[in-house]
Amino acid sequence: MPTVLEFKESEMFSMGVELELQLVNTRDHNLTAAAPDLLAIVKEKAHTGDIKPEITQSMIEVSTGIHKTHRSLLAELRSIRTLLVTEARVLNVGVSGGGAHPFQHWSERRISDRPRARHVSGLYGYLAKQFTVFGQHIHIGCAKGDDALFLLHSMARYMPQLIALSAGSPYYQGVDTAFDSSRLNSVFAFPLSGRAPFVLHWNEFEAYFERMRTAGIVESMKDFYWDVRPKPEYGTIEIRVCDTPLTVDRAATLTAYVQGLCRWLLSQGPRDVTEEIYLAYTYNRFQACRFGLEGEFVDVATGMRRTIAEDILATTETVRRALGNEAALYEVEEIVSNGNEARWMREQYAVNRSLPDLMWRQVLRFRGEEGKT
């Protein structure tokens, strides 16, 4: 019998990245509907990876090919970045990272002229325009569906770490939200957000998907807006909690860190994953979104509580002992000591107390021209 949702085998721990990026004008640095024009000229240039439209016209999504090493992933991300930045300048458009635009008004956004975007807009109404937020999606390759599900649930424990490390959406709709990552609150509004059902065997997952599909709730895996979801057609798990970092270098760091974590989890980590892992999930997730690295992490099973920063440092130590000293581990520790993107944004805002000015600093940071204000 053909399976309903075949999990395509891919090389274990191979990785790939998708980044949703903001397009702003150079006048007041508000979002601008530049995606159709930018995509039209980028299409004619030779490039690796993929550059696609997103739900609204002031967003684009870039994705890399499949990589085994941090170094090659970084090289591809940088070349895509250079292409985008060069072409965007031809059109007088700024490209930026960050999980949300600091002062755009969602009602001014324009839904992209494509079937999927129109479908989502028709179904979700204003939520679609409010979904103009920008995330980094990390793909980790798995050989089998069962491995994917094991990693998907084991990684749940590390979601607060990834949220806190990448958090870069403190300002939203013109105000300081007090959150380090306000973006994830926009995702919560969708009925099919949250987490995957706790099943560990691929055939059980297929059965779940089939029931949802025949009930008419979903049509494809795309309709699930989970924090981590399996992507059977790629043979990966896709981690979707990260805000898009302000530089592609940091995007590569986070991806390589996740790769290290998965490698450790599957080789030497705890083998028994139970649904208990989700007891404190939403609490920890909230702590990470709200307080970033200073947020509290609670492990219900052991009763341990510590800051997310402490939890990260403990994790990098463990992984380092198991896998050796990888660059990403050191870079993650540096984020812990220097602060995340949200902290950088608040510091930059403090210089001139102007959100448009902050936005332009983000554009320069993405270009790698920081300091040239």
């Binding site: 006048r27 509907a33 000229i41 031809v90 059109l91 007088n92 001014e108 324009r110 839904i111 001139n352």
Partner: protein, 403 residues
């Protein structure tokens, strides 16, 4: 019986302020009606109201009332050109130099073709040159009014604004330079011939630079709060308009230069981008309706042929210029069409330019009017709806409920 002393004489004499109100209200109503009944740009209604109330039709607003409004027209024009100028990012020309090529080509070719065509109709070269120079500019008022109304965003819109600002600058400079041969023809002393154009061009641009530098300094001290900046800018605009009138500079060149330099000199990004919003809208309506009152249909019978010829020559020149470097500058041919159509608008503001030139040399006035009036009338009514359609079909207009 003696008339009661407390009642006014009939018709009551009213001051200029009354006419501002009357014109604003009737133009506003006409604009809404045009939008509601025909789905055409509101500015068509503003223009119609101006023509109907103006001295050439009903005469409700006569020549003297119009003259009394000239200071307001100057201020409105100043605000409008400043608004256009500050929207233009000249650093874009550095990252995409082919745009400067596009600008030079569309203006140069349009000028050359119009110059030739007008001479073919047997007009003197000097008249042809001044008329062609005026024809080079795209109406800043129409471009701003329609891009704002349509909330347009994209390359057609951005390039339209940039090219309009640039071709307006070329037009003002060229017209001012052409005053030299005009003086040769009608007056003839060397000081006037060389000094006057130089004073107009360099004086206006130097004044613009001084205003931009000092305004930026004021803004640096005031901080980035939008309300505060708005107030300071409006005050500086009033000052700039009246000083340039007092110094007999070119008001359009000075104010457009002021806006552009504000953006270009602002390295520290002290100038937050201003949306002139409702105040800008009031100025736009007054500008459209009051300048439309100058439109004179009596010139049409004599000038319709040459008018059509100018319109065609201008379109061909601008379109060829836009297409020449479209692809290398990153614009697909489809959008190049929309951009070319978008560059068509011309408004009665150009008449003011004609009148200013003519005022110095009254002999010149009827000649210019026969050549330009029909072309301006045709474009005033045909080009704005076409430009609006260009923005809609290029999908850069914001369509409520659709995107």
């Amino acid at each position: 019986m003696q008339e009661p002393f407390f009642l006014p004489s009939w018709p009551p004499s009213v001051e200029n302020f009354f006419w501002y109100g009357a014109l604003l209200l009737s133009a506003g109503i006409a604009g809404e009606l045009v939008e509601r009944w025909t789905r055409q740009p509101r500015m068509m209604g503003w223009v119609l109201a101006g023509i109907l109330l103006g001295p050439h039709v009903t005469g409700a607003i006569d020549v003297s009332a119009l003259a009394g409004m000239s200071s307001l027209i100057h201020l409105a024009m100043g605000v409008l050109l400043f608004e256009l100028g500050q929207r233009v990012d000249l650093s874009w020309l550095r990252s995409n130099p082919k745009l400067l090529g596009t600008s030079a080509l569309e203006s140069g070719l349009a000028f050359a073709l119009m110059f030739l065509v007008i001479q073919l109709f047997g007009k003197p070269p000097l008249v042809a040159a001044v008329a062609a120079a005026i024809g080079v500019s795209t109406s800043p008022a129409v471009v701003l009014a329609i891009t704002q109304d349509q909330r347009a965003q994209g390359q057609v819109t951005e390039r339209l604004l940039l090219l309009t600002a640039l071709n307006s600058i070329y037009a003002y400079i060229t017209v001012n330079i052409l005053i030299a041969p005009l003086a040769t023809e009608y007056r003839g002393d060397l000081v006037t011939i060389l000094g006057h154009p130089a004073y107009l061009v360099f004086g206006s641009l130097a004044f613009a630079a001084i205003m931009a530098r000092s305004t930026l300094e004021i803004l640096r001290l005031l901080g980035r709060r939008e309300e505060t900046q708005f107030l300071a800018i409006i005050a500086m605009l009033i000052v700039a308009v009246w000083i340039s009138i007092a110094l007999r500079l070119s008001v359009p060149l000075a104010l457009l230069g002021f806006g552009t330099m504000m953006r270009t000199f602002d390295r520290g990004r002290h100038f937050v981008w201003l949306n002139f919003g409702r105040l800008g809208r009031i100025f736009l309506i007054l500008l459209f309706s009051s300048t439309a009152a100058y439109l004179d249909f009596t010139f049409v019978p004599a000038g319709i042929g040459i008018g059509l010829a100018i319109v065609v020559a201008r379109f061909v020149g601008k379109t060829a210029g836009v297409f020449a470097l479209a692809r290398p500058s990153g614009l697909p041919y489809r959008k190049a069409w929309f951009l070319s159509l978008g560059l068509m608008p011309k408004s009665a503001l150009a008449i003011i330019l004609v009148n200013q030139t003519a005022m110095l040399y009254p002999e010149f006035r009827p000649l210019m009017a026969t050549v330009m009036m029909s072309a301006i009338l045709i474009l005033e009514f045909a080009a704005a709806p076409i430009m609006q359609l260009a923005l809609i079909y290029s999908k850069e207009a914001f369509e409520e409920g659709k995107n």
